[in-house]
């Protein structure tokens, strides 16, 4: 049992030791370009809020590209994951993409669904939060900036999406004519990112409203009252000690919900990692059947106007090749035993926790200074351990470790001997061969 938990940890360190220069360099590149784009976006926001938001796409794209690239860097050291990929690929088409083509493929195929997932889980909110802070900082006394996000509630969004759709069409056409393929490919990616970014962020805001409204209903308050009544009586006389309302107002339900999402996040990140590695690991009969059901809906769907279909197809058309493997990759991990899942959750959170304490410890080591001096010093500390706001993990000591850990967990899951014997619904034929190969490797 402890051996099971120790294996991914040892692999994490091994990966880190083998690849740290590349990983750190990539994190730094991400920081440099992310900062640059963030400044541009914030400055643009003063001219036009919509333009600021559109440019913010580049920041998100930078963060994601760096993450994807870091995972890809580790691939040569993950034999089991690679073997599974190769087996699936030979089953599908037999072609092995090389060099530059692989990178383009990686960006178009892995990045976009990854991005959608990333947005759907609210990680984009962090980018938007950084953006709000930067614009607020730039505004003299925070007045003229107003709320740079007010455009999210305006109709101009539609225009922005329409424009990026037009540009994308044009880029697609240019690409087909064979002029500067990779350049137009990048244009297409940026346009698509833009509408996913804006679309999903707006949706997530609406979702928050709906959830908030639901949560504010009495169903929860009744249950809470029962739970809190036992836990925290409110005292009013001096005879009883006073319990401040900050303590009593964070109720048991909220605490449990918080803890649930706190423990869920590492799993989400594993899904994201699987998504990056797993775009070729496909095969699942049951999910196939669901797919056919969806296809039957297709007849009705084709009556929708073309541009809408174009938009929707991003999420639906390729989902067999894109999303089935993800589901598979995650299912493999989650079914590979409680020990591994627990290792994932606890390990991921431990990295996070240690980074925060390292931040605090460093401030104590450096000691008190005037605010202006600390403003300068804090950038150095942030470079090592990530931003003190804890909404972006860009510390050069933390981020590579996190990526290595996630990759190590996934690799351990793919390499587990259990998978071969655990029966029926599991992949057959070439897949099994891949695993044998993986264990030999």
């Amino acid at each position: 049992m402890f051996a099971d938990a120790a294996k991914p940890l040892a692999l994490t360190l091994k990966l880190w030791w083998r690849f740290w220069p590349q990983l750190v360099a990539m994190v730094l590149l991400g920081i440099v370009f992310g900062d640059l784009f963030m400044q541009i976006a914030a400055r643009a926001a003063f001219l036009n809020h919509m333009a600021g938001l559109a440019l913010l796409t580049l920041v998100a794209l930078t963060q994601l590209t760096v993450t994807v690239a870091m995972f890809q860097t580790l691939l040569p050291a993950l034999p089991a994951t690679r073997a599974a990929q190769q087996a699936a690929r030979s089953e599908a088409s037999g072609e092995v993409p090389s060099g530059g083509a692989r990178l383009a493929r990686m960006v178009t195929v892995a990045l976009l669904p990854f991005f959608a997932y990333y947005a759907a889980w609210g990680f984009l909110g962090d980018t938007v939060r950084q953006y709000s802070r930067v614009t607020l900082d730039m505004a003299p006394f925070g007045e003229s900036a107003g709320n740079v996000l007010d455009v999210l509630d305006s109709r101009w969004l539609v225009l922005s999406v329409a424009i990026s759709w037009l540009i994308r069409r044009f880029a697609n056409a240019m690409q087909k004519r064979g002029e500067a393929r990779s350049f137009w490919q990048i244009v297409v990616v940026i346009c698509e990112t833009n509408w996913i970014f804006i679309g999903l962020y707006v949706i997530s805001r609406w979702k928050d409203d709906v959830v908030g409204w639901l949560m504010s209903r009495n169903i929860f308050s009744v249950l809470q009252a029962a739970a809190d009544g036992m836990a925290a009586p409110i005292a009013s006389a001096f005879a009883d000690p006073m319990v401040p309302v900050e303590v009593t107002s964070v109720d048991t339900t909220a605490r449990l919900v918080n803890l649930f999402f706190y423990m869920l996040l590492p799993v989400i990140w594993l899904v994201l990692a699987a998504l990056i590695y797993g775009y070729d690991v496909r095969d699942d009969k049951e999910l196939m059947r669901a797919h056919q059901r969806v296809e039957r809906l297709g007849a009705r769907y084709s009556t929708i106007p073309k541009f809408l279909r174009d938009f929707v197809e991003h999420f639906i058309s390729g989902y067999r090749s894109r999303y089935l493997p993800i589901a598979n990759g995650v299912r493999i991990t989650l079914s590979s035993g409680v020990v591994l899942v627990v290792t994932l959750i606890v390990g991921y959170r431990l990295v996070d926790w240690l980074a925060a304490w390292a931040w605090l410890g460093t401030t104590r080591l450096i000691g008190p200074h005037e605010l202006d001096t600390w403003q300068v010093l804090s950038h150095g500390v942030s470079l090592l351990f990530g931003s003190p706001f804890q909404d972006s993990s860009t510390g050069i000591l933390v981020e590579p470790l996190r990526i290595c850990f996630l990759a190590a967990i996934l690799e351990t899951a793919f390499a587990l001997p259990k998978r071969q014997t655990s029966g029926g619904a599991q992949p057959t034929g070439p897949k099994g061969a891949a695993e044998v190969e993986a264990q030999n490797a």
């Binding site: 001096f238 005879a239 000690p241 006073m242 319990v243 401040p244 918080n258 803890l259 706190y262 423990m263 409680v338 020990v339 627990v342 959750i345 606890v346 959170r349 431990l350 996070d352 926790w353 925060a356 304490w357 931040w359 605090l360 401030t363 104590r364 000691g367 008190p368 200074h369 005037e370 605010l371 600390w374 804090s378 003190p388 706001f389 804890q390």
Partner: protein
């Protein structure tokens, strides 16, 4: 069955551990919070810009204060706690402006704002080489008196700057629940 039980126990342990990590992880407010300089009653507590020595603590039901030439008696809903503190500046002139009384359960009582007209209270300007005495005056609940901590800093938002944390130690309570040496009226018109 045994395996299942083991898994459940493992999951519960992991949940407990995660809860511990979640609760004990420092967040932004803690990361950029003040850096404490610890000390006891009577110690000279050395911060970056200033030094503070809490000499004594007195409790009273009422305070006698000069207000614009008139002597007035001030009552309170709890109890008055008056701390005499000697300040010194380290390397350059500065102003100590903020003090609060943190009770044993973590409730924070800021300096009272009802006596802002009186002399010898914060904010106090201090120069290097010229120590100065001042009074810190709090209104507190009687049950927040014992084992309290005095927090003193130069500015309100003293992010990553020194904050003197002076533990004031236990205070014996009398029969009425107030500290044993509580006086009826403390005369603040007297010099410190």
């Amino acid at each position: 069955m045994m395996r299942k039980m083991a898994n459940v126990i493992l999951l519960l342990l992991a949940t407990a551990l995660c809860y511990g990590l979640q609760v004990s992880k420092p967040h932004y407010a803690e990361l950029i919070g003040p850096i404490p300089a610890y000390g006891k009653l009577g110690d000279a507590v050395v911060g970056r810009g200033f030094e503070a020595r809490a000499a004594k603590v007195a409790f009273s039901r009422n305070l006698k204060v000069d207000r614009y030439g008139q002597t007035k008696v001030f009552t309170t809903g709890g109890i008055w706690a008056v701390v005499t503190v000697e300040f010194a500046a380290s390397a350059q002139s500065t102003t100590v402006a903020v003090a609060s009384w943190r009770g044993p359960t973590g409730l924070a009582y800021d300096q009272t704002e009802r006596l802002s007209f009186a002399d010898g209270l914060l904010p106090v300007a201090i120069d290097p080489g010229l120590p100065k005495k001042a009074r810190l005056i709090f209104e507190v609940r009687p049950d927040e008196v014992s084992n309290a901590t005095l927090l003193i800093s130069e500015k309100l938002m003293s992010a990553l700057d020194s904050q003197a944390e002076i533990s004031l130690g236990p205070v014996a309570a009398g029969a009425d629940g107030l500290p044993a040496e509580t006086v009826d009226t403390l005369d603040l018109t007297q010099p410190i």
